[in-house]
């Protein structure tokens, strides 16, 4: 390096080198900052939320005596609502992804992909407004039927709420909101499945469904599962769509068509944060920490699955 210095104009070189060093440092710093920020999210929630785990009965209110009296039911409600939303949305997501990748007329496939992306762009507050007003209203007859004829089933035990603003309505709104995420990932995965085996299956006289079943699904399985997990992460953390559809309190129950549908962590935080004193706030942050931990694990697992799938594909 030092021998080169003599042969080149001194000023230009040193300026360029200093600039290079500064810029490389900035870029690397930004990369490190991303990791620091993610760690900071965890640390700040921990620092502000830790006292909340020992919140007193007076702080929590609603007759609950300790944090976990609220924490467990909320965690239960969050997972129940999210999983129900996924049960509804996943078959549709896979069907739409298959539709775009294999079934739709070629000229329609691209615009349909755009339309599904459009669905993802609609703000959650608009979905909440629609769910709490229109959807809840139009589903009232369905709930009344379910409450009288299907009350043997734990989910529809009732008594059904006449407003229609209950857990199932939120589940349906969440299902619509999660759909674009799972669809987008599944679509990508379906598009990457090897063409040769598909053509071989066609050559052997397979029907279109047999092609999909025998040569697309086996390759796409891990990718689709990852997409489902990402959707789960979204459903677990969605706030407004749930807050605006039904209000409730933390309780463990499968009954999602009554006024006492279980509450989710996100909606509990959003409902209570504005009026909370600092003690209550730290209790709410503790609840947020649980939500963060759960979604982090789900997303981590999903991304790890995608990485594994990519490595296998490239091999």
């Amino acid at each position: 390096m030092s021998t080169l210095t003599e042969t080149q104009p001194k000023r230009m070189r040193s300026r360029g080198q200093a600039g290079d060093r500064v810029f490389a440092g900035l870029a690397r710093g930004a990369g490190i900052l991303i990791l620091v920020v993610l760690a900071a999210v965890f640390v700040f929630l921990l620092v502000k939320g830790l006292p909340g785990f020992n919140a007193s009965a007076a702080t929590i209110g609603q007759g609950f005596t300790s944090f976990w009296d609220v924490g467990w039911p909320l965690l239960f409600g969050t997972i129940l609502i999210a999983v129900l939303a996924l049960i509804i949305s996943v078959p549709f997501s896979i069907a739409i992804a298959l539709f775009i990748a294999f079934y739709a007329p070629r000229r329609l496939a691209v615009p349909i992909g755009y339309i599904i992306d459009l669905l993802a762009a609609v703000p959650s507050i608009v979905f909440g407004l629609w769910g709490g007003q229109q959807l809840a209203n139009s589903l009232r007859p369905v709930y009344s039927w379910l409450g009288t004829h299907a009350s043997w089933f734990p989910l529809f035990k009732g008594p059904y709420a006449g407003t229609g603003r209950v857990g199932v309505t939120a589940v349906l709104v969440l299902a619509v909101m999660v759909l674009p995420i799972t669809t987008a990932i599944s679509r990508e995965v379906f598009a990457q499945t090897p063409k040769l085996t598909q053509e071989a299956a066609i050559g052997l006289g397979a029907t279109r469904w047999e092609v999909v079943k025998l040569s697309v699904f086996p390759h796409a399985k891990s990718g689709v599962i990852a997409g489902v997990m990402l959707g789960l992460g979204r459903a677990l953390g969605e706030t407004m769509a749930v807050v605006m559809v039904y209000s409730s309190s933390p309780r463990v129950t499968f009954n999602v068509i009554s006024n006492s549908s279980p509450q989710t962590i996100a909606s509990y935080i959003a409902n209570n944060f504005a009026e909370a004193n600092p003690d209550k706030r730290s209790m709410l942050i503790a609840a947020g920490l649980i939500l963060f931990a759960v979604t982090f694990v789900v997303n981590f697992a999903a991304r790890a699955a995608i990485l594994r799938g990519e490595r296998r594909m490239s091999r």
């Binding site: 991303i34 990791l35 999210v41 298959l98 762009a121 608009v126 629609w130």
Partner: protein, 365 residues
């Protein structure tokens, strides 16, 4: 894969249904459902569901009787997938029709410019403060997220290729995409409470929360765009004796600027409709506040405006002791604000895509 390359229904060794059989069956199912609706007085939803079920049963049965089991199964799955697509169009169309139908009648210049300060129950008041607040907070988020995101993307593409740090950053950026928006709000609130004390309601807090939600999108899209820049350009620049950082700033980034701007606009359109983080970090203010650094006052934004109208509707004045039903004024304002919000999001989305098309890197020459 094109539809034409898949097995067609014409097969000379077996009997097969006519080419337009699915259309015939679908038409027949709709006609039957309409007749049932007229004769039995069902509503539209029930008739549509019956039509779907009839269609789902009739075609595979017909196919099973003439073509055989395998073809029938294939037809069943095809019908299922088409039905799924039609079903999913229902909520999308419903939301759009609802927002347009309820939003347009209340939209006016006074609505867009007036605020909810000193509001008395009634049809007056508007989203002036909310639009300003949304613009200020989103601008702050963009100012914070874009330089960091762009630099991180440059690090990933130009400096870190394959290094352990780069792989960790890529992975955790993906994980960050999944942070629930309300957790981002809680983080910003916790951070600012530690710095400024518990009374803080600064607009900047929400800006930080939104920046956190924007970062992953900005990084991923910029990274993809920077990777598209051909190495020839970099090497040509190095060969002329230009230093690496000047090459990046003068050659690599300008080449991919269209795609980077597209990514940024899509990221903005994603966070501009976020409600929960703003609710938690900054809170709602009825009046106008243009200063995001004021600790004692929150800011109005479009999403929190909609939520406030929805959660705390105007109550019509009525005699003492009577229960008063909430009037429709607040919902009118909420739908009109939702329409404005959706228009902003869609314009950002479209503009982003158009910019990306126009300034696409000119490769393959």
């Amino acid at each position: 894969m094109s539809t034409a390359s898949l097995p067609a229904s014409s097969d000379w060794t077996r009997p097969s249904l006519p080419r337009y059989a699915p259309l015939y069956v679908a038409g027949l199912a709709i006609v039957v459902a309409l007749l049932l609706k007229l004769l039995l007085g069902w509503d539209w939803a029930a008739a549509a569901i019956i039509a779907g079920i009839l269609n789902l049963i009739a075609l595979p049965v017909w196919s099973a009787l003439t073509e055989g089991r395998r073809q029938a199964k294939d037809r069943l799955v095809t019908t299922l997938i088409w039905s799924a697509f039609v079903t999913i169009c229902v909520p999308l169309v419903w939301v759009i029709v609802e927002v347009l139908g309820k939003g347009i009648p209340h939209l006016s210049w006074t609505f867009v410019t007036s605020t909810m300060r000193n509001h008395v129950p009634g049809p007056t008041g508007g989203i002036g403060a909310a639009i300003v607040g949304t613009l200020v907070i989103t601008a702050l988020a963009t100012i914070i997220a874009v330089p960091i995101g762009l630099l991180a993307a440059i690090f990933l593409v130009e400096y870190g290729r394959g290094s352990r740090l780069a792989r960790a950053v890529t992975f955790f950026v993906d994980v960050m995409t999944g942070i629930p928006s309300i957790v981002a709000g809680l983080f910003a609130a916790a951070l600012f409470v530690l710095i400024f004390g518990p009374a803080n309601q600064m607009g900047l807090t929400a800006g930080v929360a939104l920046a956190l939600l924007m970062l992953p999108t900005v990084i991923r899209s910029s990274e993809e765009m920077l990777r598209l820049v051909p190495d020839d350009l970099r090497e040509a620049s190095y060969a002329l004796g230009v230093s690496k950082w000047r090459t990046i700033l003068k050659v690599v980034v300008p080449t991919s600027i269209g795609g980077i701007v597209t990514g940024i606009m899509l990221a903005i359109s994603r966070v501009i409709g976020e409600t929960a983080p703003i609710l938690v970090a900054t809170g709602y203010l009825a009046g106008m506040n243009t200063n995001p650094f004021r600790q004692d006052q929150g800011m109005a934004t479009l999403p929190t405006f909609i939520y406030d109208q929805y959660a705390h509707p105007d109550v019509a004045s009525c005699a003492l002791g009577q229960t008063c039903a909430p009037a429709t004024w607040s919902m009118d304002r909420a739908w009109a604000a939702a329409l404005v919000l959706i228009i902003i999001v869609m314009v950002l989305n479209l503009a982003g895509r158009i910019i990306g098309k126009i300034f696409a890197p000119k490769t393959g020459r």
